[in-house]
């Protein structure tokens, strides 16, 4: 019974919503346009750096969010500019390299005053302006079986905000994907040359998709940081790969794919960990081995998904960039 509550708690947790948000951004890249962005964690990290550092300077929270989003947008333009004309796997290598560069710069001792180097920026240094906006009481609140703080860190307040944001951006995705603009992107995904011969500027459309998706990714990063802290190493390559796994799990190019994928992914991870710690004896699988063990399963899931069911739970096989 406890395990079930744990799983449910993970399903509604703010970090699950933050990952769903970031995956919606990735869905603009991969699902709609077919761009192989393998550095989405870099967008998330830039978003949270922009946000947290602006707040540390004492700027208002709306400005901080805008700066976080702008950082990601500039990053997208710089990345897309040389690579969007090249073949898809080049984009994959460049995005993964660029995201890694952002992380290495962020954790470098040279920038310690700004980014806090490898230890990052502590939650209490930037969360306060967001937490004072909370209409919830400043204490533990119990709703049904769930117990969370009203407004601090991973709180009811953050839960409400993140899931509302997920709803808004799912709606935005749905509207944009069915607009003339979205149809051009889908055309690029299916056959770039055909769209080019219709007189569309493919490069510019790809760039727009990269920027929009990157900004949504940054917003995902910001909301994730509000529930945790700014930590460069938590936004390394594995994070990008988790995002891909959960996007492909839910179904790329669908409206609810990223949301369902994120919920399924994190719930399943919690379920596997709690079942393993409950039923497998400690001599066979100790508690420190649980984490790598469950991540091995994630990797295998990604392989099997891509080979046997690339469209995921909700997707349509014809709607895929592969």
């Amino acid at each position: 019974m406890d395990i079930l509550f744990d799983v449910l708690r993970t399903a509604i947790a703010p970090s699950t919503a933050a990952f769903a948000l970031a995956a919606i951004g990735l869905n603009f890249h991969f699902g709609l346009t077919g761009l192989l962005n393998m550095g989405h964690a870099g967008f998330m990290l830039l978003g949270m750096y922009g946000f947290a550092i602006s707040l540390q300077q004492g700027w208002p929270i709306w400005l901080a969010v805008i700066i976080g989003l702008l950082a990601a947008a500039i990053f997208a333009v710089l990345l897309g500019w040389p690579t969007l004309k090249l073949r898809g796997d080049y984009l994959a290598i460049v995005t993964i390299a660029a995201a890694e560069m952002v992380r290495l710069l962020g954790r470098s001792q040279s920038l310690k005053d700004l980014t806090g180097a490898s230890s990052g920026i502590r939650g209490k240094d930037f969360k306060e302006p967001f937490e004072t906006l909370s209409p919830f009481p400043d204490s533990i609140v119990t709703i049904g079986p769930f117990q969370m703080h009203g407004s601090r860190s991973s709180s009811w307040w953050l839960t409400v905000v993140t899931w509302v944001l997920v709803g808004i951006f799912a709606l935005v995705f749905w509207r944009l994907a069915n607009s003339p603009w979205g149809r051009v992107l889908k055309g690029i995904r299916e056959d770039e040359d055909a769209v080019r011969s219709l007189g569309k500027n493919v490069y510019s459309y790809k760039m727009q998709a990269l920027v929009i998706g990157g900004m949504i990714g940054a917003l995902g990063g910001i909301t994730w940081a509000l529930g945790n802290s700014v930590q460069p190493d938590s936004m390394a390559r594995p994070t990008t790969f988790w995002l891909w796994t959960l996007l492909l799990l839910g179904g790329a190019a669908t409206v609810f794919g990223p949301v369902l994928g994120s919920i399924l992914f994190w719930s399943a991870l919690t379920l596997v960990k709690s079942l393993a710690s409950a039923f497998i004896p400690d001599t066979v699988l100790s508690t420190t081995e649980l984490e790598p063990f469950s991540l091995v399963l994630v990797g295998v899931t990604l392989m099997l998904l891509v080979i046997f069911r690339p469209q995921g739970v909700l997707g349509n096989k014809k709607e895929l960039a592969f």
Binding site: L78, A97, L104, R237
Partner: protein, 356 residues
């Protein structure tokens, strides 16, 4: 070669270079501790000799690192050449080789995940290394047999195969962590005396490692240039359909390439672990992007390109630490990768063709 670069490309390169310079300057200006950090290390090392000697020492370190990197990236390049797959799980083969050597050589009791029994193998280092290379090469064969040949047979798209390799890399790196734990391990506890040759200080192990790396790379070159199988490999790499039509068994060649690539990566990993005196579970994963940078710089799919690219990347990464903080050396190498894609996406040795 230069004549074909048109003005627009040069302009773009100049602009990116400018942005990079501004960025680096900004980084150094904003983080006040930067100058302190980098000049501190530089000063500590240079107090006795001077910046020039430091430069020479780093140049030498760069050549060593480049040679070890080349061992790993030649395989990556061969795989790309023959199958067009960007194999993201290649870094784990590097770690695996080194970890397996440790597992076979350490006198401490070791385990296999999920089996609650302690083993005590404790082979001497050299047989352990040879055995580890053989097992890794076997793993390359198994990988191709179980995964990649099946995917080729099912005609799974290249992008899909690339994501499969990403999944494999995620699984393998976590498996290695599960197997060996999060701490770096040392292959040997022997004390390694350093000798001075002019401004260069180097240990005997490193010299032997260099010799082994050069011998292995020469071996690969000989294989590719002078043997029938090597010529067949180059033929497949050039044009698989044509190679198949002229009676070359493309699938066996690809399997051979996988075996070679895995074996070379394992050798590279073992030498790297000796060179940097220890290896962590994610060292190979960190190296993967260096390999991609090297392979892209030299020309994707061009085996000698991987060698040239690795040496350049190795030297740039090490020499950059004369001026920049040492924890930025990987970032510098990745910056080069992006710059290369901007100016000459086909790499140094690659043939110019449409890549977009």
């Amino acid at each position: 070669m230069l004549a074909r670069l048109d003005r627009r490309v040069l302009l773009r390169a100049a602009l990116v270079f400018l942005i990079a310079v501004v960025g680096v300057t900004a980084v150094l200006a904003m983080g006040g501790s930067a100058d302190a950090a980098s000049s501190e290390t530089a000063a500590a090392a240079a107090s006795s000799s001077g910046t020039f000697d430091l430069f020479i020492q780093n140049l030498f370190n760069g050549v060593v690192f480049g040679l070890l990197l080349a061992l790993a990236s030649v395989g990556l390049s061969l795989i790309y050449g023959t199958t067009a797959l960007s194999n993201f799980a290649h870094g784990e083969m590097v770690t695996f080789g080194a970890m397996l050597t440790y597992w076979l050589a350490t006198p401490q009791p070791v385990r296999i995940p999920l089996i609650p029994v302690d083993f005590n193998i404790g082979l001497p280092l050299i047989p352990a290394a040879l055995l580890a290379i053989a097992i890794s090469a076997g793993l390359g064969w198994v990988q191709d047999r179980i995964i990649w040949s099946q995917l080729r047979r099912r005609r799974v798209a290249m992008v899909q195969q690339m994501i499969v390799s990403i999944g494999l890399s995620l699984a393998l790196v976590n498996f290695i962590q599960w197997w060996m734990g999060g701490r770096p391990v040392r292959l040997t506890t022997a004390i390694d005396p350093r000798n001075d040759y002019g401004p260069i200080s180097v240990s005997n192990t490193t010299l032997i490692s260099m010799a082994i790396a050069i011998a292995a790379l020469l071996g690969v070159a000989f294989f590719l240039q002078r043997t029938r199988l090597g010529r067949a490999t180059r033929a497949v790499s050039d044009n698989p359909a044509l190679a198949s039509a002229s009676g070359i068994k493309v699938d066996s060649i690809i399997r051979l390439v996988w075996i070679m690539a895995a074996g070379l990566a394992a050798l590279g990993g073992i030498l790297l672990a000796l060179y940097q005196q220890g290896i962590g579970f994610d060292d190979g994963t960190k190296l993967l992007l260096m390999m991609f940078a090297a392979v892209t710089l030299g020309g994707l799919g061009h085996p000698y390109g991987a060698l040239v690219g690795s040496l350049i990347i190795g030297i740039v990464a090490e020499v950059s630490t004369v001026w920049l903080a040492p924890d930025l050396k990987f970032a510098t190498a990745l910056g080069i990768l992006i710059l290369v894609l901007l100016v000459r996406p086909q790499g140094i040795l690659g043939r110019a063709e449409r890549v977009g």
